[in-house]
Symmetry: C2
Subunit: 320 residues, 2 copies
């Protein structure tokens, strides 16, 4: 058994990080050092890319070259992920969202488009609702777990009838800031401890003898924050969506309900997606809904060209 | 018995507000409309004044003329107080602090001094730790309930062994957004339901046949957020103080421990104040501690001239 207690994180860069062929830069928000990369001409319209949970900016590595032909691309690491600094006790949507508000101010410096995957898609929603006036032009929610990442959702399955137990295992076996670091225990638990409806996905989250690169760069306290609901304590999704002020693209990927248990497989259910559309539509902001039921969770990872096309087509239609 | 259910708030300005002889302005943060006043020459150094819980900007009305001789004064209403908009479900230190970050950006537009009373003093501490780099020059914590307004403090009495039950009564008898509005019930409860150590202060918070002006302007959900701890869920005070980056003035007013119960009377105990000084000193930022054991909670309200003198003398010493 290998222990990786306290092995990974910004304090141990050589053990933790690898190069990805892009110059990485740091931005000081005042609380957090946010790591990011920039690609594309500054004369292009800006695009902010927000990774999902357990994803660093380089989850977009395959998509960036194509996106950079059209956009001035900024891909960030959120607090507690990638090379950004960790903030024990302080992982909430409101704090992460305000990090991005400061990033738009301090780095992008003008109105921007935003696209975020998964939890990053929830943050794209947050920005579309709560950013400073004029900061965000339009927002793409890429397979966002709206309602389904809440502890107490207003509609459908909450996180404990969905992906939540995976995050709980990250938290338990790796510990806040990798303080436990029991990788073998995590791999075993992913195969044996997950509730039946989601046990089949365990191996995709942890397998092999060594921690995967994306998890080395991940503060497992994120997992605890989602499992306990702390991440969204003051940010109910229904209220957030009712405050949306800009056009929205919602791409909805693979999803199913496990009939025997009623659990959600995928990022959000059709019922939840319908509620998102209902609430956003009522704000008067246009919402384009694209159902991609055979697409995996990361459109930008699985089909970078299709991702770029979908994003570009939507923006073309918006701006013409 | 009079019911004031839903009688007060931004939706009912004529019933709620009175004039105070200063032009009031609104700033749109993107989520909240923050009400504020400005006084003094723009060539003076800026000073941001942050009221306490149940206080609107005009709690500073007596101090503003003197402060305006030296400063470019900005006094704000926090979300859920005064003429600022209410944000149900979203009363946290991190959100209120980021409101002020946006206010400094969008209204003051340069590095500023900040002084806050009570919960506003905790927000002054928040800004001294978590504002954007360069936004805050120095911070005055006016009798702040550091540790003592937490549900689970690292040192000394938490809010439920201090002022907390007063806020719980506000919440219960007035309701979120004044949805209950049972003023008579509140007055009675302040005289009979408060725990013994703090029962003597009840009448100071609610008495008479009509709601007091400051409470008309107060969203009682603030009280619930403090009673439940939701206001500080992701903002432990010890961690915040360890992130302080600018010089601090801490004025510590009346306080005592009720011996039979161990409860705190006043905003923070000597033990808690010593811990504040210890943590801030360890950051390398200078902290000036001024003990004023015979001063009431609001120095700026009780002795405006002395308040201005103390603030000015500290800044003079800092800048020479």
């Amino acid at each position: 058994m290998s222990s990786f207690a306290n092995s990974f994180g910004p304090h141990a860069p050589e053990e933790t990080y690898v190069e990805h062929g892009h110059e990485e830069r740091l931005f000081d928000t005042g609380e957090v050092r946010l790591n990011y990369v920039v690609a594309g001409e500054a004369t292009n319209p800006p695009l902010l890319l927000v990774p999902g949970q357990t994803e660093s900016w380089w989850g977009y590595a395959q998509a960036i070259p194509t996106l950079a032909e059209r956009f001035h691309v900024h891909a960030v690491d959120l607090r507690g992920q990638g090379r950004s600094s960790r903030t024990p006790g302080r992982y909430t949507l409101d704090l992460m969202g305000n990090d991005l508000v400061r990033f738009v101010d301090g780095v992008i410096g003008r109105s921007t488009y935003v696209s975020g995957l998964s939890s990053g898609g929830v943050l794209a929603a947050w920005l579309s609702a709560y950013a400073k006036p004029g900061q965000v032009l339009a927002a793409h929610y890429e397979d966002p777990p709206l309602f389904s990442s809440e502890l107490v959702p207003t509609v459908g399955q909450g996180i404990r009838q969905a992906i939540g137990p995976v995050f709980e295992l990250f938290s338990r076996y790796l510990g806040d800031q990798w303080s436990v670091g029991d990788w073998d225990g995590l791999v075993t638990a992913m195969g044996s401890e997950l509730p039946a409806p989601i046990r089949f996905i365990g191996a995709a989250f942890a397998s092999g003898a060594e921690p995967t690169q994306n998890l080395k760069e991940y503060d497992p306290e994120w997992g605890r924050a989602f499992w306990t609901g702390a991440v969204g304590q003051a940010c109910p999704h229904d209220r957030m969506l009712a405050a949306v002020k800009v056009p929205v693209l919602f791409t909805h990927h693979f999803r199913a309900i496990d009939e025997p248990s009623g659990w959600l497989l995928g990022a959000s259910s059709d019922l939840q997606a319908a509620k998102v559309r209902e609430i956003v539509s009522a704000t008067g902001s246009p919402i384009e809904y694209v159902s991609l039921p055979t697409m995996g969770h990361s459109f930008h990872g699985q089909d970078p060209a299709g991702f770029c096309d979908t994003l570009s087509s939507w923006l073309d239609a918006l701006t013409t």
